[in-house]
């Protein structure tokens, strides 16, 4: 566990197009419905889809800060290590987009050539320090979890693998899981199958035996329409897909959510 108060660092991984961003947005929605909980959503996917789903207008990404800082470093105006840390902390706090008990940080797309490992490590340290101020972190990642490890945080507590019903998607989830077991720290992991039309479809696939199955999410017209119309996922009313996401969270055993009631379900 990274934080002093952080109960869970949840990272969502899976093949492109399987619905990681949708599920991430619905998890964020479930978590922020308890106003006493602080949630940090991190969009680590260069496509910046989570920002769109949460109706957040991203002004500055971590990579913007990284690039500005490298420019300053090359001009020789960055100062010593402590001054550098102060500047990066200032910029990163400024890059947080806030909506009540939700804060949002976009990682962006790394475009600078050359090796700036020390800068990346400093940025990762600062993300870690920021994370300590939140109860929950939800990371919408690129396909593999190693990217989270390299650019966001050393360790996650809960790894959620997402796939649709396709064999390609499930194979990708298995590969990501096997890489994560070897290379990334996590406490719990599980697989969600997304966009299932009916349970008969589930009988046609073979689930990996070594990954806990957290449940399936039904194909949902409310979610489809929200995607098409770029609606804010945080304002979606209760819908079968949302309820399925909450059940999957419970199945994963996220700390503080092991009881029969999840945030947003009332008491």
């Amino acid at each position: 566990m990274s934080g002093k108060k952080t109960k869970a660092i949840i990272s969502l991984c899976g093949k492109g197009g399987v619905g990681k961003t949708t599920v991430s947005a619905l998890i964020v929605k479930a978590l922020i419905e308890d106003p006493s909980k602080r949630v940090l959503a991190i969009d680590a996917d260069p496509a910046v889809g989570l920002a769109t789903a949460l109706k957040i207008n991203v002004k500055t990404t971590v990579d913007d800060i990284r690039n500005q800082f490298i420019e300053l470093l090359e001009k020789g105006g960055a100062g010593d290590r402590d001054q550098v840390l102060g500047l990066l902390d200032y910029e990163m706090t400024g890059a947080l987009h806030e909506k009540d008990n939700l804060a949002f940080l976009s990682i962006g797309r790394s475009e600078t050539d050359g090796c700036y490992c020390q800068v990346n490590d400093l940025l990762k340290d600062i993300i870690g320090a920021i994370a300590e101020n939140f109860d929950y972190l939800v990371i919408d990642a690129e396909a593999g979890v190693e990217q989270v490890n390299r650019r966001v945080l050393e360790k996650v507590t809960h790894l959620i693998l997402i796939s649709d019903l396709s064999t390609k998607g499930i194979k990708a989830a298995e590969t990501i899981f096997s890489v994560a077991v070897k290379a990334v720290g996590f406490d719990k992991a599980g697989l969600i199958i997304n966009r299932v039309r009916d349970q008969e479809e589930m009988k046609r696939i073979t689930l990996p035996s070594n990954i806990a199955f957290l449940g399936s999410i039904p194909e949902d017209s409310v979610i489809r329409n929200a995607d098409i119309e770029e609606n804010n996922f945080l304002t979606i009313e209760s819908t079968p897909a949302y309820e399925a996401v909450k059940r999957a969270m419970r199945a994963l055993g996220v700390a503080g959510f092991n009881t029969t009631t999840l945030p947003g379900e009332g008491s």
Binding site: G79, Q83, G86, Y90, I130
Partner: protein, 246 residues
């Protein structure tokens, strides 16, 4: 050593103009302790009563020091604009421009220790750790951004508490013998006036940093030649560096 004495005089003139306009409040540093928070804490906007010098607002923060007696009024706070604890901030978050200057009376400064000591006292503000108070500073841009939580504001947190906590940190530095503060929250124009005074200070600090951190430098091609020529303290640092290099 004399690096900032003329800047301190200009700051005094700035304060005198504000006094003449009846907009200067002189306060005394509070020695009442404020509860400690968690290091690096973030006060979210939704929990914030007052935000000072946010990235969207005008902001300036710098530090000047002197060894000369009588230039620094120890334990004095010069406040231009509203204090944090004013009741009108109990509703929505109020975002204000922010100017902050720390004036220090130091002892034992010379051309060998000025850079390291300046750096030491500049970094001391990062040790500030107060419940309900978030501070982020970019010394490269002389900016400082802080937030005071609703709970802290309700409990009466004020600039006197902030200055008290800073003074407690400075008092642990053996060569600091006095501290005075200027806080400006009145208007963007007032913060800009303060920032223009800070520009000279910034150039001198940059010149000092260059001399201290660059192994070799050529005064003939240096951007700070005129600045060094005008300031006695920098001239003596320059001579000292040349002596060490020859």
């Amino acid at each position: 050593m004399n690096l900032f004495d003329d800047s301190i005089e200009k700051l005094r003139s700035f304060l005198e103009r504000k006094r003449a306009a009846d907009s200067l409040h002189e306060l005394i540093v509070s020695h009442k302790t404020w509860p400690a928070g968690e290091r690096g804490n973030i006060v979210l906007a939704s929990d914030t009563a007052v935000e000072l010098g946010s990235p969207e607002q005008e902001s300036v923060s710098f530090m000047v020091w002197t060894e000369k007696c009588g230039l620094i009024k120890n334990n004095r706070i010069n406040l231009i604009g509203p204090d944090i604890s004013e009741k009108k901030y109990s509703g929505m978050m109020r975002s204000l421009p922010f100017g902050k200057v720390v004036l220090l009376k130091l002892k034992g400064m010379d051309e060998n220790n000025s850079y390291e000591r300046h750096r030491q006292i500049d970094m001391a503000r990062y040790d500030l750790n107060l419940k309900g108070y978030m501070m982020r500073a970019a010394s490269q841009y002389m900016r400082e951004w802080s937030r005071v939580s609703r709970e802290a504001a309700r409990s009466g947190f004020s600039f006197a508490h902030l200055a008290g906590a800073l003074s407690a940190i400075y008092s642990r530095v053996e060569f600091v013998t006095g501290v005075e503060y200027i806080f400006v929250t009145s208007s963007t124009a007032d913060v800009r006036s303060l920032a223009s005074l800070g520009t000279t200070v910034e150039k001198r600090i940059n010149a000092m940093n260059k001399m201290a951190t660059e192994l070799a430098f050529d005064c003939n091609s240096c951007d700070y030649t005129e600045i060094c020529a005008a300031v006695e303290g920098l001239r003596s640092m320059q001579k000292n560096k040349s002596r060490l290099m020859s």
